[in-house]
């Protein structure tokens, strides 16, 4: 029988977790809570003696200094309501798994099948609250009912019932090797019903293609030889749905687009991916010639570039938006540990050196009604931040760079970008590390976690808009420790040459990973009954497509198998042989030796013709705002510094370990009080070398409201100028594109599809133009094309968003530059010209406007200037440098000044202007966001050297660093237009998110 072990804090011991919950109840729900105390509950469902239970409770489960334990006796006292929150059946319970292992070590006996430890947390809440209040606290704060269950007891009921009863969230069910056949010889309506009801996300045309496939007489004859009928099995249909999902197949980027621009000029584009993204890399590589540093682009889980003769650099950024919308914690945790597997599964495998993350949310203080099913932006914020914290920190990978972007439309779907870089020896076992292969006869081996019902239909559900029926099963919870154990094992197996090929199990699960691997040698034969399951009751199709986490798929040569499996066992990592790779031309899936899927490889991977999508660009016209002319803009500056997109994110960043692995050189925060915002991160991945990796990013979705061409151009420029500011070299730098779009496919739900598709075309055009000008090859990327919410009445589409990540090298990290001003008397330079470009700026947003004059990137000039600036950095002439982005010059100057602890005196009349001189005005100079600009300080003794190195480029001396802690900016008419104390400016900047 099962027993409840309760672990409570001793009276008088501070309950930090409870205090935080109490603060959040007061802060977000405005309810009068006096105190919250918490108790950990371990429900042990295993055959243990009383003595063994006591040994567990008093040993690994309890900290005797601060905690007390009890078995089957409630410890809660002095409260008004108790809420117990546990996981729903089948949801990954990491703490329960660790508790089970601890008990197994103690008893020396493994748990038998079906035995488990389940965990829950009990919240003991006191205060003048009603039952309705408690219900709100439970559902609005303590519990995500999608993955968790809760029980509420009043103090009286708690007393009467003797506390909470034993609850066992056990997955019930028996394994029935049931395989259904689906009749596709039905009406179109019926075909669509099959797709919709099954969360297959297949279109009518795709359903018809599948139906027709099962009419080929030769195929049907072959099917009969393996015991299959003329109708597809559920395993086959599900497998095709995963393989052909937007998420896996990128159908929009592969489509044929009929594009019409604002002048009516028409153009047919065959695949945006090939025409723009791949072509960018191809053309840049040709331009680079001998200096080409790309090793593996677009073909593996991540991009690979050269770092030096001995080491290669690997980088990938992914999104995990839809799962994060449903379960922010689990979705984001899975996002980060999921993207970890991409560089790990690239080439022969890379060790992971850092993470990056960018989150796009709606205002966490959002106070308007939301459609049901949407979680409040604050819960998304809290959950995502915590999920990435746990995923990154526990994996021992420093989170070095990122940002938070806010826009109300991200209430419809938050964007959660997670990136991971890795490093691998240039050669492993005498072969290039970025190459791998599979030979027929190699064994299919899966390592890591077990398969459950978690993450079923993740790929297909994220290929649709979020709606009221989005499936619960799509959510997974990551387990960083199981993954860490697996990586510890696999990196050693890599160095011993125990496998030939590795890839990760992500979207689509085995159907995707083994499907792609089988493409290497043209076939496979895999028995799903050999896959280890978390619990019984999974149908074969579920085993094939489950996205249960922490799994890698490998091809192991038969002669290495014994050594591989023995080593896995020693390192505590489960490894299972599921079948073998073949050259049969068929994706052949069995269940206990009976064929359940028999799909020709050619049909799986090439059976889908490109979609035909219309795109028509009609430039939007926004009302041109009249800008109020003022004598003093100090208050506007303070307001901008306190806006969500500009304010300090330190409360989030400090929760991420950015220094583990010991190579941190430029940290997220810098300056005299360690709190100025760095432009980019510099990391030294090899501790006895001075060579460094620089990583930065650009993102500016606001500009999409005017023109996605310029949104993209500015995002690329922002990424590169952040990178350059810190000292990154232009000789070895690459880009990575992550498109997050609202659905651009015209339909009843999306009547403006052609406009959204045109936005996508224009974004791609800019990507090509700017990257070519900057000699930036794209090495990897991802698109997420269905970032909409629709519940039948309300539709929320995110602004088209490109995250542009930049990764490259600094030859000597000791030359890196930070953004804080260094000493009074230093000269202040502004590199680049400013223009009357307030369109889409934070300043106009503050005034409630959008405008039209979006910043235009002059990439040719900027590239030359970036190169000159880099030489100035390498010559040691630069004291500080900060890029100008949101909020323009005034914000950059304020940040550099308060980071360094010294004031700044600037003169706007010295700033170089681009365009009509009559349009020159203080507001545009202060707050305009013209691209490609840097604010640089230089010691007086370096002035001549700096100016000589920069000569021939647009730059101007505009002021100096002063001892007095004020920011003074003189306007065009000679009087100060900003005059503010640094302490006030810093406070305005730090205040908004400090308490979150």
């Amino acid at each position: 029988m099962a027993h409840r072990i309760e672990i409570a804090l001793k009276d008088g011991v501070r309950d930090a977790r409870g205090e935080r919950i109490a603060r959040e109840i007061a802060h977000f729900l405005h309810l009068p809570v006096a105190a919250v105390r918490t108790i950990d509950v371990f429900t042990v469902d295993a055959a243990l003696s009383r003595a063994e239970l006591e040994q567990a409770a008093s040993g690994p489960l309890c900290d005797p200094v601060i905690q007390t334990w009890s078995i089957d006796a409630p410890q809660g006292h002095d409260f008004d309501f108790a809420v117990e929150v546990g996981l729903r059946p089948g949801v990954t319970d990491n703490i329960g798994r660790t508790a089970r292992e601890a008990i197994e070590y103690q008893t020396g006996r493994p748990f038998s099948a079906g035995e488990a430890v389940y965990t829950a947390v009990q919240y003991l809440i006191s205060g003048p609250l009603t039952s309705a209040d408690i219900e709100l606290i439970a559902t609005g704060l303590l519990c995500n009912t999608l993955i968790q269950r809760f029980t509420i007891l009043s103090a009286a009921d708690f007393g009467a019932k003797g506390g909470f009863p034993v609850t066992l969230p056990k997955v019930s069910g028996e394994t029935k090797a049931e395989v259904r056949e689906i009749d596709l010889n039905v009406s179109d309506d019926e075909l669509m019903r099959i797709s919709k009801d099954g969360v297959l996300a297949l279109t009518l045309e795709e359903m018809r293609i599948i139906r027709d496939h099962y009419r080929d007489p030769q195929l049907l004859a072959e099917r009969r030889t393996v015991g299959l009928s003329d109708r597809p099995t559920d395993v086959e249909l599900e497998c095709l749905a995963q393989t052909w999902s937007e998420h896996c197949k990128h159908k929009i980027f592969a489509s044929t687009v009929q594009y019409e621009d604002e002048n009516g000029t028409k153009q047919e584009i065959k695949s945006l991916f090939k025409s723009f993204i791949q072509r960018t890399t191809k053309d840049v590589r040709e331009k680079l010639g001998d200096k080409d540093f790309c090793l593996s682009v677009f073909k593996d889980n991540a991009g690979v570039i050269r770092f030096n003769d001995q080491q290669s650099l690997v980088f990938k950024v992914e999104t995990h938006n839809s799962p994060s919308a449903l379960d922010p914690y689990g979705g984001a945790l899975t996002g980060i540990v999921g993207v970890n597997r991409d560089p790990f599964g690239t080439g022969k495998g890379a060790r992971l050196i850092f993470n990056t993350d960018v989150f796009c949310f709606a205002d966490p203080f959002y106070a308007k009604p939301l459609p049901s099913r949407l979680l409040h932006p604050r819960r998304i914020y809290e959950g995502v931040v915590e999920g990435v914290e746990h995923g990154g920190n526990k994996s021992g990978i420093p989170t070095v760079n990122g940002s938070l972007v806010f826009d109300e439309r991200f209430a419809g779907k938050p964007l959660v970008f997670c990136g991971t870089a890795g490093m691998m020896p240039a050669e492993i076992g005498g072969e290039p590390s970025f190459e791998k292969s599979i030979k027929p006869g190699d064994l299919i081996v899966m390592t890591g976690g077990r398969i459950g019902k978690d993450g079923i239909h993740g790929a297909t559900f994220s290929s649709e808009e979020l709606n009221e029926n989005s499936p619960v099963s799509a959510v997974q919870i990551g387990d960083p420790i199981t993954q860490k154990r697996m990586f510890d094992f696999l990196i050693r197996a890599r160095d011993k040459g125990l496998y030939r090929f590795i890839t990760d199990n992500g979207a689509g699960g085995l159907s995707s990973s083994i499907g792609e691997m089988a493409g290497e040698c043209n076939g496979c034969r895999m028995d799903l009954a050999k896959a280890p399951l978390k619990y019984p009751g999974l149908a074969p199709w579920e085993i094939l497509i489950s996205e249960a986490q922490e799994r890698m798929s490998l091809a192991v040569p038969p002669e290495k198998l014994d050594e591989f499996l023995a080593m896995a066992k020693r390192f505590g990592c489960e490894a299972s042989v599921l079948g073998e790779f073949t050259d049969s031309g068929t994706f052949h899936i069995l269940y206990n030796d009976r064929t359940v899927a028999f799909l020709p490889m050619s049909f799986m991977h090439e059976g889908l013709p490109p979609m035909q999508l219309p795109a028509k660009w009609v430039p939007p016209r926004h009302e041109e705002p009249v800008i109020e002319v003022k004598e003093d803009y100090s208050d506007d500056l303070a307001s901008l510094l306190g806006s969500l997109n500009i304010c300090s994110k330190e409360s989030v960043v400090r929760r991420y370990d950015h220094e583990v692995q010991g190579g941190s050189i430029v940290k997220p925060f810098t300056g005299v009080a360690n709190d100025g915002p760095s432009d980019a991160a510099v990391v030294r991945p090899i501790l006895d070398s001075w060579e460094g990796v620089v990583v930065a990013h650009g993102i500016c979705p606001r500009y999409s409201d005017i023109d996605t061409y310029h949104m993209t151009a500015n995002a690329v420029d922002e990424g590169l100028r952040n990178y350059v500011a810190t000292g990154g070299s232009l000789e070895l730098v690459a880009g990575l594109d992550n498109f997050c779009w609202c659905d651009p496919v015209q339909s009843d739900k999306t009547p403006d599809g052609p406009y959204k598709m045109a936005q996508l075309v224009r974004s791609n055009q800019a990507l090509y133009d700017i990257c070519l000008a900057y000699s930036l090859p794209l090495i990897s990327g991802k698109d997420s094309m269905k970032n909409d919410f629709y519940d039948g009445t309300t539709k929320i589409s995110i602004p088209p968003t490109l995250l542009f990540s930049v990764i490259g090298k600094i030859e000597d990290v000791r030359k890196a530059v930070t953004m804080d001003v260094k000493r009074p008397g230093d000269l202040v330079y502004l590199l680049g010209k400013s223009a009357n470009e307030l369109g889409g700026s934070e300043y106009l947003a503050l005034k409630g406007a959008t405008g039209n004059r979006v910043p235009v990137v002059d990439a040719a000039k900027a590239y030359q200037r970036y190169q000159a600036y880099h030489r100035a950095v390498m010559a040691g002439t630069v004291a500080s440098c900060h890029d100008l982005s949101d909020g323009g010059l005034a914000v950059a100057a304020a940040e550099s000044a308060f980071a360094g602890g010294y004031g700044m005196s600037l003169d706007l009349s010295a700033v170089l202007w681009k365009g009509d001189a009559t349009e020159k005005n203080d507001v545009a100079l202060l707050f305009g966001e013209s691209a490609s600009r840097h604010l640089v300080t230089v010691r007086p003794e370096q002035r001549d050297a700096f100016e000589a190195l920069m000569s021939g480029n647009c730059f101007a001396a505009i002021g100096e660093v002063i001892a007095e802690p004020t920011l003074t900016i003189t306007g065009l008419n000679g009087t100060p237009v900003v005059n503010a104390g640094l302490a006030e400016l810093k406070e305005a900047w730090q205040k908004p998110l400090r308490e979150l």
Binding site: V65, T98, E389, P480, R485, G572, E659, G662, V666, N674
Partner: protein, 276 residues
């Protein structure tokens, strides 16, 4: 020629700082610093007896799922070494009784305290008399702290530190709590808290956040046993062995060596003087 000085760093099950800890050992003067996965210790391939200095370094052992380092404390106590018919704990106790130094950092410190190795009041009966629990602020924190040194401490690691050192902390469970007032008083009386969170001038211990980032009793950041050979601390000395790891290295004149290196230099020196 003297025997080689050998340091070992244990990794596995969620340890994360093994590479920089081994690097710090080498920079500190050890002839060899190897990283051993716990699986290699449990299989008997690698034995603690062959080393002079043990590093239990930072990470999230078993995810800290049962409270920081609890599951590993349990594992070390109960897990058997394959070939040798002994528990890993036996090797560890033999290492200690051979007079060899152990440094626990962050998760390693939590492990030593929860195993009862520190402050070591009960000898080999390993009774836990203190703990490290959730930061008062309720959150994981990555920030730099000033650590005032107690020059009267027996710790072999902090010898020669002038005033104090500046290091990063990166933890969610770093609040030091003693089981009783007597335990705390004895730690103070015997100078077993060599490092305490302090103001920037290393003037006095502080309870003020964020200088004291977790609310530790008596501002205790690290403790040692009476021999001074066993020490643990929440801050990360291995994360600051060169000036470019300092958060303000681009604006301050700093020596080449980072403040954390002295702990490893002292360990190497101790080993050279006493163990080889």
């Amino acid at each position: 020629m003297a025997r080689k000085t050998r340091a070992i760093v244990i990794t596995g099950n969620g340890t994360n700082c093994e590479v920089e800890a081994a690097h710090a050992c080498r920079l500190g003067g050890f002839d060899e610093a190897i990283i051993a996965h716990i699986a290699e210790l449990l299989s008997g391939e690698i034995r603690l007896d062959d080393f002079h200095f043990l590093n239990l370094t930072g990470g999230f052992l078993d995810g800290d799922d049962l409270g920081s380092a609890k599951a590993q404390a349990n594992r070390l106590r109960y897990a058997k070494v394959d070939e040798l018919e002994e528990h890993l704990l036996d090797q560890l106790l033999r290492f200690i009784s051979a007079g060899k130094p152990i440094l626990g950092v962050c998760n390693g410190f939590q492990l030593m305290v929860k195993m009862g190795l520190l402050p070591g009041f009960s000898g080999t009966t390993l009774e836990q008399v203190a703990t490290l629990t959730h930061n008062d602020c309720g959150r994981f924190q990555d920030r730099w702290v000033y650590l005032k040194v107690d020059p009267a401490s027996p710790s072999v690691f902090t010898k020669g530190i002038n005033k104090g050192i500046y290091l990063p902390i990166r933890h969610g469970e770093g609040k030091f709590v003693a089981a009783s007032a007597e335990v705390l008083a004895r730690i103070e009386r015997e100078n077993l808290a060599p490092l305490k969170y302090s103001d920037a001038g290393y003037g006095a211990p502080t309870m003020e956040f964020p200088l004291n980032p977790n609310g530790s009793e008596n501002a205790i950041a690290g403790i040692c046993d009476a021999t001074g050979r066993l020490m643990g601390l929440m801050p990360h000395p291995e994360a600051f062995v060169h000036r470019t790891s300092h958060p303000r290295w681009t604006r301050e004149e700093l020596p080449e060596d980072g403040d954390g290196l002295v702990l490893f230099k002292n360990a190497a020196e101790y080993v050279r003087q006493n163990l080889v």
